[in-house]
Subunit: 381 residues, 2 copies
């Protein structure tokens, strides 16, 4: 897509048509699999983006910080899952959000957190909605589906007669899926995620807990699951923009990636085959997520200003406001002539969540054409 | 230094006493070496910090973006060096800043940029102040001191009879100093930086250019130079906070580092020896600057809430809002008892500029004691 001239760089570009395609692709998959979809808004942190996810059929959102919960509740999005294990220091904040109208669901993965949360709710006349985090892949946190700890947490949540907290269900995130790259391995991981989370729910139900919600997800597994039997909702975040890591995993193509950083050529080192741009790590982030994949893109894939890949240029090094691109094409080429001072390039990010977080808004190339628009995003806690 | 209870995490802490010590250490060195000091504000992007650098004796500032120039000019700091090679797309912005009262100096390293800048100035009735960037270490950009290109750039700057631009001098940045770690190697690099930049100035003077300013610097070389003969000003940024990379280079100790991220223990995986915190890469950045140093600190060094190092805990992995700390101490220890849910830890950053940029302000532990204060910082372009 062509971009207007005169944009001061570096600048975060969002291709609305690609984003809309990604939103519809995920939502139609979720509809076909018969589950609710709860997008993770940590990727965009942008009301304009989330509005489109909800318009496509998403029911509620997932957040990674209470600030996200606060901002989106203020936008009228009230069905919110805070998908990071809550700790006592955040109980009052969560309570304020609930009192302000958010239908906030919290996550615990320990008896201590469950007991404290139940007490906190009871002490404040509020019943916290809670999911137990289940570990289905050994990736990070959560309770293993076959661990008796599940029952101890569930019991702790209703210690006070269930006045302070209510076990709404279980949730899991198969973060290990990020290390995979074949459809079969991804489908197997999605099945492991599903089966483990459903098993945890069934054990809790057998012990007398209602456990209505069974929430699973990551972008790779959501796009690879062949059945979601027993699952009630799926979460995914980065699918909305996609990135090089997702392309490396194989769940999108480079042409699906909706985000890029527009930058300007500010210098050359023809002897070294280098081009210097004004997009350093501040503009693209220090994320090197493709380092461990089959194709390492350095700090991002280089494209021309219209978004066409220039595979002979590698984004090899980054300082704060300098990007260093190495030319691997014909060594006889006149670099300053081919990429003149002041000409623009685009960098496709390794990791959309990380690159997005370096910016306070998106310069949107509208699907309908016409002028670019600026959509603010927020950061911080 | 003790921190007050009840701070919601993650949070960027700034130890004012340490910062003040760092500011005074650098300024007194510069005073002793007989040069002006122009701190690089890209590290803090915070008026409260820069005010203290100026109060200690700094004359003017260095910026990495025109937004920094704009914000600090609005604060009354008008002597500003924009230390990234300027391109035509930013000329109008620079002109606006100059018209609004900034005494802005720009940098070029090519004939094309020089010629265009001279024309732009002449066309708008403004004389841009310009330094030529000199490459003294082959690190990134700039003109080699012995390259005839120096004269061609200088000539291009006065193409129009000098109405549109004025060659104020030369500048260099020995970025290669970041890869060193012995006092002798650092002193040699500082001397190389000095000698190369002074040589470029002398060649230009011999050709009839006044070339008053000779500007050099990086934190490692500024703290290692034994003589700065011929240099008129030094630039350095990260010294104000310091970080683990600087400690690894050997120009500070870990006790000099003024910045840390306060976080909370949100979970445990005793079987794996893991502690999960709420400081993921969003709070500490993806910078892994110590990876190539003698001691690799992962995503940062772990300390207790008062700032005492816990060397048995390694910040081994980071997701967006989850930090994964690995325990390398006595395996029989009861991790949840030693580091209880809800307890707080501090992470000392690899790279202060990168970690700072993930936050919109500093929670300041005042040198005088008493309540913490919040100092806002800005990001973006």
């Amino acid at each position: 897509m062509r971009i207007p001239s005169g944009l001061e760089t570096p600048l975060l570009l969002l291709d609305e048509a690609r984003m809309q395609h990604n939103i519809e692709r995920m939502q139609s998959r979720m509809d076909a699999l018969g589950v609710r979809f709860r997008p993770h808004v940590k990727t965009s942190k942008c009301p304009e983006v989330v509005r489109r996810q909800l318009a496509a059929g998403a029911l509620g959102i997932t957040v990674s910080t209470l600030k996200e919960a606060e901002r989106f509740a203020a936008e009228g999005v009230t069905d919110i899952l805070y998908a990071v294990a809550i700790v006592p220091g955040k109980f009052d904040h969560a309570l304020r959000l609930a009192r302000d109208g958010a239908r906030l669901t919290l996550v615990v993965e320990s008896v201590d957190a469950a007991r404290e949360l139940a007490r906190h709710g009871a002490a404040h006349g509020h019943c916290h909605e809670v999911l137990i985090e289940v570990d289905t892949d050994g990736h990070r946190s959560g309770v293993r589906p076959d661990d008796r700890l599940l029952f101890r947490i569930a019991d702790a949540l209703r210690d006070d007669g269930g006045r302070g907290s209510h076990l709404a269900g279980v949730m899991t995130h198969a973060g290990s899926s990020y290390a995979l790259s074949t459809p079969d391995a991804l489908a197997a991981m999605a099945e492991k995620e599903r089966a483990g989370c459903v098993a945890a729910a069934e054990r809790l139900r057998a012990a007398g807990h209602a456990c209505e919600t069974v929430s699973v997800g990551s972008t790779p597994t959501a796009l690879s699951a062949r059945s979601l039997e027993g699952v009630t909702e799926v979460r995914a975040g980065v699918y909305v923009f996609f990135d090089l890591v997702m392309a490396g995993i194989g769940v999108c193509t480079r042409d699906d990636i909706a985000l890029s950083v527009l930058c300007t050529v500010i210098g050359h080192r023809p002897d070294a085959g280098w081009i210097i741009t004004d997009a350093g790590w501040m503009a693209v982030s220090r994320d090197r997520g493709t380092r461990t994949q089959a194709h390492d893109f350095g700090y991002g894939a280089v494209c021309d200003a219209e978004g066409r890949a220039i595979d002979e240029l590698a984004f090899a090094d980054a300082n704060q406001e300098h990007g260093v691109l190495h030319w691997f094409g014909d060594p006889r080429i006149d670099l300053p002539r081919r990429f003149p001072l002041g000409s623009q390039l685009r960098i496709v990010p390794n990791h959309a969540c990380a690159t997005g977080a370096q910016h306070d808004g998106y310069t949107v190339l509208r699907a309908a054409g016409g002028d670019v628009e600026r959509w603010p995003r927020f950061n911080g806690w």
